[in-house]
Amino acid sequence: MSRLGTIGARLYRGEIGYDFVRHRKFWYAVSILITIAAIAGVAIRGLNMGIEFKGGAVFTTPSTKVSVTDAREYAEEASGHPAIVQKLGNGTMRIQVAELNTSQAAQVKSDLARDMKMDIDKIGAELVGPSWGKQIANKAWTGLAIFMVLVVIYLAIAFEWRMALAALIALIHDLTITVGVYALVGFEVTPGTVIGLLTILGYSLYDTVVVFDGLKEGSKDITKQTRFTYSEMANRSLNGTLVRSINTTIVALLPVAGLLFIGGGFLGAGMLNDISLSLFVGLAAGAYSSIFIATPLVADFKEYDPQMKALRKRVLAKRAKGEQADGDQTEQDGDPQDTVPGEAAVAAAGPAGVVEQRGRGRGRSSGRRR
């Protein structure tokens, strides 16, 4: 841990670091690939919508010795519809019957109680009309839209519009990935999932905000100096807050993981699991995107700002001069025009925390004018 502390310090001071901004093209590509995979997953495999979205009934029985096969038989006999039966960790059963309307369900419930020889009052039943799920989904979309508008406005006020835009892109990215994971893995989508998805909104941004805050601070007086371009500054800030983002993400994930693995283990399925699963995926995506996507995007947007362009010119001019003056660049950073391609992703470098290497010709370096 003490080593971590030291690493934290060196990251903070920019003695070591990973050039997120310079390698942004690579990470953008990674993200675009994942996103395409996610969209393709949804398009091809579709989402496995739970009973709540199709209408039907879910019966939860107390702990029982009845086998899954028997229970399925009973349920199908009683309802005339195919049934999905899961035996949960604690011996209880979850019997789902699709397309059962609410009035038929009562009959099915009593038949089940009779066949499985249990007290009817002990059987829990969740009956869902076909439009219930649609309603939840509609409300979720509404909420999503409202939230996005509000949060963009807020971030534009608290930070600036470029950051707001970058945060929004990162947010959409997180949501897409989460939905994609659901499609690809075939997890069931329930109202709980929708809750989880909507919660990711706030949470994914939490992380982004922590990073942006450091970014804003770092770039406060950026135009008054000529050592770093905006992109380099952004990268420094990002490295400086890296420990913080990683820690906040881990700490946020821990309880969710507890919910997911323990709550799920006890109940096997249900609300706890649904919420925590989508949260878990979304949080992980959110942590990734705030570092690899949101910040580089801000840097990209910023570089179009005339002020920043002027700064870049000044910085480069000064560097060129410095290089002529002495080749031993004690405080060089960014990438001079003729860097030797290195390969270490993380290596000790100048104080800007910028590794002296180009991303293997991947994209232009940020320090080059087009």
Binding site: G8, T102, L127, V151, P191, Y206, V210, I262
Partner: protein, 598 residues
């Protein structure tokens, strides 16, 4: 306490950490004390944790009444559904609107949920039926001749029932009828024209001066035997045996009732006593009422209910009132029956058509509620069952246990991580988490009775997820402090300098979380709201705890030797954090040694 501070004197609450801490501890103690005093020592549990049934309904406007799904109608529907469900003898059932078009009914365990569902799903029926007989609400001991085509002599007086131990006055339409009254205290007449004062003694009905025992009239009232009129004796028996004080008997009354039947019904009079009625076939129904409202009659200074009828309604109403106004009490009464329960039974003194007013011993609430019932009794809304969720008590208990275990494990994991990473500093974090927990728990317990907050499974989830949000704030602050130490500062100034920066981050990110929770709360229905509510609450509490607890505690601890001198285990050891030694040790850190020239 007041150790002399060096350097800039921080202002405000930050300057007096002891006081701030004392303040928040007092608040916590007060909340906890309030919790024990009010006897609500644990949060109210929702249906999914305590067992019971939740029914979610969605309002659908009838064709041609697209804008019928509005707040007034929804609230009326809630009132009607609440009456029905609680008529089953469930006193705990909760009926609430959610969002713009949903109604959620929570029925605790121990109720026949099937029965409840039947009651909840149907549309309310409002009918105007002529009164054939009235009696006190209890079972009647002696035979009371009920008016029917076969029995001719009846004054409509029933013996005092002892069912509820309280006798109601005999149903004579006597001018002494006042608030202690009878249903007859309500009279139905044409609305008085706006300005002219109307006769005063309206609240007491004058008996009609017609001789009562005109057989012809009798027949007029009780004729038109409906196709399915049960044998009179049967009706009488049921009437005699009926005990209106028992909810189950009341709810049984409304089963399979057709408008054209002669029925037995219950209703409360203005003195809140149950009474039972025999009512003739429905003459006018709720759809015939165009609009009704409870309003204050300025001249007489009393509350009345005015009714306007539709075109076809006016015709029917005219017909029936001309008949009834000829009758003696109680046969001149007109029962307004909602879902088989008599809401009001005004007597009729004149023939009325397009509009009428009911006067009697109304107060504001009762007038408005009768107005609502008349306007919307036959709701312009029909409801569709969206979901019915029945949770057995055992399952609920299990879900709660799983949630709590998951929460405990989540908390433990977070604490372990903090201890490993932040060493001594984690004491601050753990104490702050505890403070958060105490505040959250006591507020939830107090909010139960306060605003009807019930802890459901998603709300438990929200609370667990919030552990992370809360701990994140500490991390932001701790990391800031460490950054300051790395700059080479000693702890005390580091704590103070780190605060404003950390504060900003915490506020912005918590605001975003809160915004998400608020939006979620505003647009969602059902269980999701519980989740959003907890998330929002804990986010707010997070800000409170960080400002009033974590920060002052940190300030105080910075004064101790253990932390202040950066003990290796304090988590603030400059050497471990890789602080820059004050001495210049050029390790390629800063320092451009550039020739200064442009």
């Amino acid at each position: 306490m007041a150790a002399p501070k060096r350097g800039r004197r921080p202002t405000g609450a930050q300057g007096k950490p002891g006081r701030t801490l004392a303040f928040i501890l007092i608040v916590m103690a007060a909340l906890t004390g309030g919790m024990f005093l009010s006897g609500d020592t644990s949060p109210r549990l929702g249906i999914d944790l305590a067992g019971g049934t939740t029914i979610t309904l969605k309002a659908k406007a009838e064709p041609g009444k697209e804008n019928a799904v509005n707040e007034t109608n929804m609230n009326t529907a809630v009132g009607i559904i609440e009456r029905r469900v609680n008529g089953l003898g469930v006193s705990e059932a909760e009926v609430q609107t959610q969002g713009s078009s949903n109604i959620v009914v929570n029925i605790p365990k121990g109720t026949n949920s099937e029965e409840a569902r039947k009651q909840v799903g149907t549309t309310a029926q409002l009918y105007f039926r002529p009164v054939l007989n009235v009696a006190a609400g209890g079972p009647v001991k002696q035979e009371t001749p009920a008016p029917s085509p076969s029995s001719s002599a009846s004054t409509g007086t029933a013996d005092k029932g002892k069912g509820d131990g309280k006798a109601s006055p005999p149903p004579k339409a006597s001018p002494d009828a006042t608030a202690q009254g009878r249903a007859v205290t309500e009279g139905l007449k044409a609305p008085s024209p706006g300005t002219s004062g109307s006769p005063a003694a309206d609240s007491a009905d004058k008996p009609a001066d017609k001789p009562a025992d005109k057989p012809a009239d009798k027949e007029a009232a009780a004729k038109t035997p409906a196709p399915s009129t049960p044998a009179a004796s049967d009706l009488e028996q049921r009437f005699t045996a009926l005990n209106c004080t028992k909810p189950e008997e009341r709810s049984a009354l409304n089963e399979n009732v057709k408008p054209e039947d002669t029925i037995v019904a219950c209703g409360k009079n203005s003195a809140d006593q149950w009474e039972k009625y025999i009512l003739g076939p429905a003459e006018v129904d709720g759809k015939d009422v165009d609009e009704a409202k409870g309003q204050l009659d300025q001249q007489r200074g009393m509350w009345i209910v005015t009714m306007d009828f539709t075109k076809s309604g006016s015709k029917k109403f005219e017909k029936i009132t001309s008949k009834l106004s000829q009758q003696q009490a109680p046969l001149n009464q007109f029962a307004i029956v909602l879902d088989g329960e008599v809401m009001s039974a005004p007597s009729v003194q004149q023939t009325l058509s397009a509009n009428a007013e009911i006067s009697g011993s109304f107060d504001r609430d009762s007038a408005q509620s009768l107005g609502n019932i008349l306007s919307y009794g036959a709701l312009p809304l029909s409801f569709e069952e969206q979901s019915v969720d029945t949770v057995s008590a055992a399952l609920g208990g299990e879900q709660l246990r799983a949630g709590l275990i998951a929460g405990a494990i989540g908390l433990a994991l977070v604490i372990i991580y903090l201890v490993v990473y932040y060493r001594g500093l984690s004491i601050v974090a753990i104490l702050s988490l505890l403070a958060s927990a105490v505040l959250t728990y006591s507020l939830m317990s107090l909010l139960g009775p306060g605003i009807g907050f019930a802890l459901n499974l998603p709300a438990v989830c929200g609370a667990i997820v919030a552990i992370g949000i809360t701990a994140d704030s500490f991390i932001v602050y701790f990391e800031r402090i460490r950054d300051e130490i790395r700059e080479g500062r000693t702890l005390r100034p580091a704590v103070e300098r780190a605060w404003p920066r950390a504060r900003r981050t915490i506020l912005v990110s918590d605001f975003v979380s809160f915004l998400a929770a608020a939006v979620l709360f505003a647009v969602t229905v059902g269980k999701v709201q519980g989740f959003a509510f907890t998330l929002g609450l804990t986010t707010l509490l997070d800000v409170v705890v960080v400002f009033f607890f974590t920060k002052p505690l940190m300030t105080l601890l910075a004064r101790t030797k253990f932390f202040g001198n950066g003990h290796p285990w304090s988590g603030l050891d400059p050497a471990r954090l890789g602080a820059k030694p004050p001495l210049r040790r050029s390790r390629r850190t800063t320092a451009p040694t550039e020739p200064k020239e442009a």
